[in-house]
């Protein structure tokens, strides 16, 4: 047994960070945030050259065949850099759902180009994590009708859509009857939207008859969003510690005040265990362990609570400048804010974890 990362995994994070430092500095993220037509294809290409889009896709389909733990480590890096590219849906959730439940033809059609980064996929499932308004998609006579809100990795060429019975379908963006409408969130580093289905022809992934396929897909996404929050929160903590080490008030650096030190210590004490929790959750999904679903729910819920605390507290440590746009700290604050709400609120996820243990 070894509860830790392999050298390859550490190397993966180092390489990603190195590329992101160059390809996606804050100034690049700002440009993306201010221009809705920006697809950040420069950032995407830089990461594609490392193989990021194909990280978990089978080598036979052009990918690297790595596991969810590796993907989570990548997501952590993306969160740490508030990277303006799609990842959770297009590079992990959709490819793995295809591998789990798609036909050979479906896999052959999509996986190689997803692996290559030549196309991207979005995911429309949020009706299964607490439906808002009249959200919901029904499959009738070979066609999808209804509304899917809050689509992950929205600027995509193809969408994987769950219907009310948890079956999964592939729908291309330009399919007849499909309307894609952008939503604007506080987090401008990622694109979000809704899909309106007016009798859109769609093909099912046959294996998704088994509702566990959707559950596993969601759990993977939860772990990835938690990892993204971990990276973003770690950045905010690091920034707070660093700022407190230089900012002077009352004739000394504010980091020498016990009040400021203890805020930072509380953040670190809350955040650091999330790292191990996340490794365990991702690895459990890789192993298909019996507690994988419970752990995924708890991981996202707990990470969301810790992330919220760190986002607020790190901003406070920065004082007024944390509230301004000057350092751009709010990009991380908002990234954490969006991750908290996607794929299930903490309350919802704890309820799911309770149900899975027979408590509810």
């Amino acid at each position: 047994m070894d509860f830790g990362l392999s050298d390859d995994q550490t190397l993966l994070q180092t390489s990603l960070s190195r590329v992101l430092n160059v390809a996606a500095p804050l100034a690049r993220v700002r440009r993306f945030a201010e221009d809705e037509t920006d697809k950040a294809s420069d950032v995407w290409d830089a990461l594609a050259s490392l193989g990021l889009p194909g990280l978990v896709i089978a080598p036979a389909r052009g990918g690297m065949g790595l596991g969810l733990l590796d993907a989570a480590l990548a997501a952590e890096c993306l969160g740490r850099h508030v990277a303006p590219i799609p990842f959770a849906a297009t590079s992990v959730m959709v490819p793995l759902a295809l591998q789990d439940a798609g036909t050979t033809a479906q896999c052959a059609r999509w996986l190689p180009s997803l692996a290559e980064g030549a196309c991207t996929a979005g995911l429309a499932v949020s009706e299964h994590t607490g439906a808002k308004e009249d959200a919901g998609v029904r499959y009738i006579d070979g066609r999808l009708c209804g509304r899917a809100l809050f689509v992950l990795d929205f600027a995509a060429d193809v969408f994987l859509v769950a219907d009310e019975s948890a079956r999964l379908y592939l729908v291309e963006r330009d399919a007849a009857g499909l309307e894609a409408r952008s939503l604007v969130s506080i987090d401008r580093s990622r694109r979000l939207g809704e899909l309106l289905f007016r009798a859109v022809p769609a093909v099912c992934l046959p294996g998704s008859e088994n509702p566990l396929v959707l559950q596993r897909t969601l759990d993977r996404g939860r772990v990835l969003l938690a990892a993204d929050t971990l990276g973003a929160a770690q950045h905010m903590l690091d920034a707070a510690v660093s700022y407190a080490g230089t900012r002077q008030q009352f004739g000394r650096v504010i980091g020498s005040f016990q009040a400021v030190k203890h805020l930072c210590a509380e953040m670190a004490a809350a955040l650091e265990p999330c790292r191990a929790l996340l490794w365990y959750a991702a690895h459990s999904l890789d192993l298909e362990a019996t507690d994988a679903h419970i752990t995924a729910c708890h991981t996202k819920a707990h990470m969301a609570e810790v992330g919220k605390f760190v986002a607020k507290t790190a901003t406070e440590v920065h004082g007024g400048v944390g509230f301004t746009d000057l350092l751009g700290l709010h990009y991380w604050f908002k990234r954490i804010g969006l991750n908290r709400q996607w794929l299930g609120s903490p309350e919802r996820l704890r309820h799911e974890a309770a149900r899975a243990q027979g408590y509810a």
Binding site: E133, F323, D325, W342
Partner: protein, 396 residues
């Protein structure tokens, strides 16, 4: 303990209602355009009826009434109930006018108070500097008396409405050899004076509701000082605690809480109303309990001021607890809305024009601004509980 209003107040309330019934329709919408004629006309009407400048002497353009918190409260309640704009506030009316009444010369009062109350003069407040935030007394913007003029150089930050203001009241260092708190004076600048540059400061909400103000060889008459040289810190502090009380006002939070209850009644998850979910309801009720405590505390503080029964600790905690509570009220709405809660301006499906998100962030700013929560805790511990001050550090 007497919570009754009494018959005199019933009559007063009726008079406010009559006024609102008769004139309310001519009030501007909220937020009003500060320079627009309807706004200024409305303000004039409020002044005439004593719904603005109520306790300011008539010789300075006010209504000259004896201060009475119950009347003030009735006015606020009735205007809120009728959803009518209650008149201009802003730092000129809220901060500068009381300062001039307490510390200004007669000439300053005559020059500034009436036009400020009328809305003809808009003020901004130049206190904080980039390196003087929590440690405000370390400010370094300097004014040197050259002949009969102050010559000012330095930079201010967090100056809200600086881009709209006609005048600024500010703290500057004038006594270079005095100890830090005793070297500061309170000056009045006209914003059109050469050498003043205002740059907007964008915050996390996306708005530029604050500014940086750069002062380069700004020359103003020597008379534009309030109080004596070196008295600026004392003068500013007399009103700072008042400002802090405003920052966490639990009565404003009540309006937002009521909106939150409406939201809980309207919004659904999987077709079930939030208000019908015990877990969400519990979060709502927890905040209600805290709010209730702060509202009672507020009544106690106000009443104590009038009845000469001071409750310094109760007043000191308002900013700390009030801004935190407000931030949490806004945050609960976001949480309860789920993915809808993170939508922001310009988005389809957006709820309440994105105000929940905007206020959630803005009140994080207010947890920091006006004395951070850490500074508030120092004040409560040292002044409220009499605990020892931070010991002096060894040199070097």
């Amino acid at each position: 303990m007497d919570l009754s209003f009494g018959s005199r107040y019933a009559t007063f309330r009726e008079s406010v209602r009559s006024f609102l019934a008769l004139h309310g329709a001519s009030a501007p919408a909220v937020p009003p355009d500060l320079r627009a004629l309807p706004t200024l006309r409305w303000q004039q009407r409020l002044l005439e009826h004593g719904y603005a400048g109520r306790a300011i002497p008539t010789r300075y353009g006010g209504y000259g009434a004896t201060p009475d918190i119950l009347e003030t409260r009735i006015i606020a309640e009735e205007f809120a109930e009728a959803q009518v704009f209650p008149g201009l506030s802003g730092q000129g009316i809220m901060m500068l006018v009381p300062t001039l009444i307490e510390f200004g010369t007669e000439a300053q009062r005559e020059q500034f108070i009436a036009p400020t109350l009328r809305g003809d003069l808009i003020w901004c407040q130049g206190y904080s500097e980039p390196n003087a935030g929590s440690d405000l007394a370390s400010l370094t913007t300097r004014a040197v008396l050259v002949g009969d003029e102050w010559v000012i150089n330095g930079q201010k930050i967090w100056t809200s409405t600086a881009h709209l203001a006609d005048w600024m009241f500010c703290l500057v260092r004038t006594e270079l050899t005095s100890p830090k708190h005793l070297g500061i004076s309170f000056l009045l600048l006209e914003m059109s004076t050469p050498g003043i540059e205002v740059r907007p400061l964008v915050t996390m909400t996306g708005d530029a509701s604050f500014n940086e103000v750069f002062l380069t060889d700004v020359r103003i008459p020597a008379t534009q000082i309030v109080g004596g040289r070196g008295e600026g810190w004392k003068i500013a502090n007399a009103l700072l605690s008042h400002e802090r009380g405003m920052l966490g006002n639990p009565n404003v939070t009540l309006q937002r809480f009521n909106a939150l209850v409406d939201l809980f009644r309207q919004e659904t998850i999987d077709g079930r109303r939030l208000i019908d979910d015990p877990v969400w309801r519990e979060r709502l009720l927890k905040l209600q309990g805290r709010m209730l405590a702060l509202r009672c505390n507020d009544l106690r503080v106000l009443s104590g001021r009038l009845n000469d029964r001071s409750a310094p600790l109760a007043a000191m905690l308002v900013k700390l607890e009030g801004t935190e509570l407000r931030h949490e009220v806004e945050g609960l709405a976001i949480d309860a809305l789920g993915e809808l809660g993170v939508l922001y301006r310009g988005s389809p499906l957006l709820r309440d024009q994105g105000l929940w998100q905007q206020h959630h962030m803005y009140f994080l700013g207010l947890i920091i601004g006006g004395g951070t929560s850490q500074i508030q805790k120092n004040i409560i511990a040292e002044r409220g509980l009499g605990m020892p001050r931070e010991p002096k550090l060894a040199a070097g």
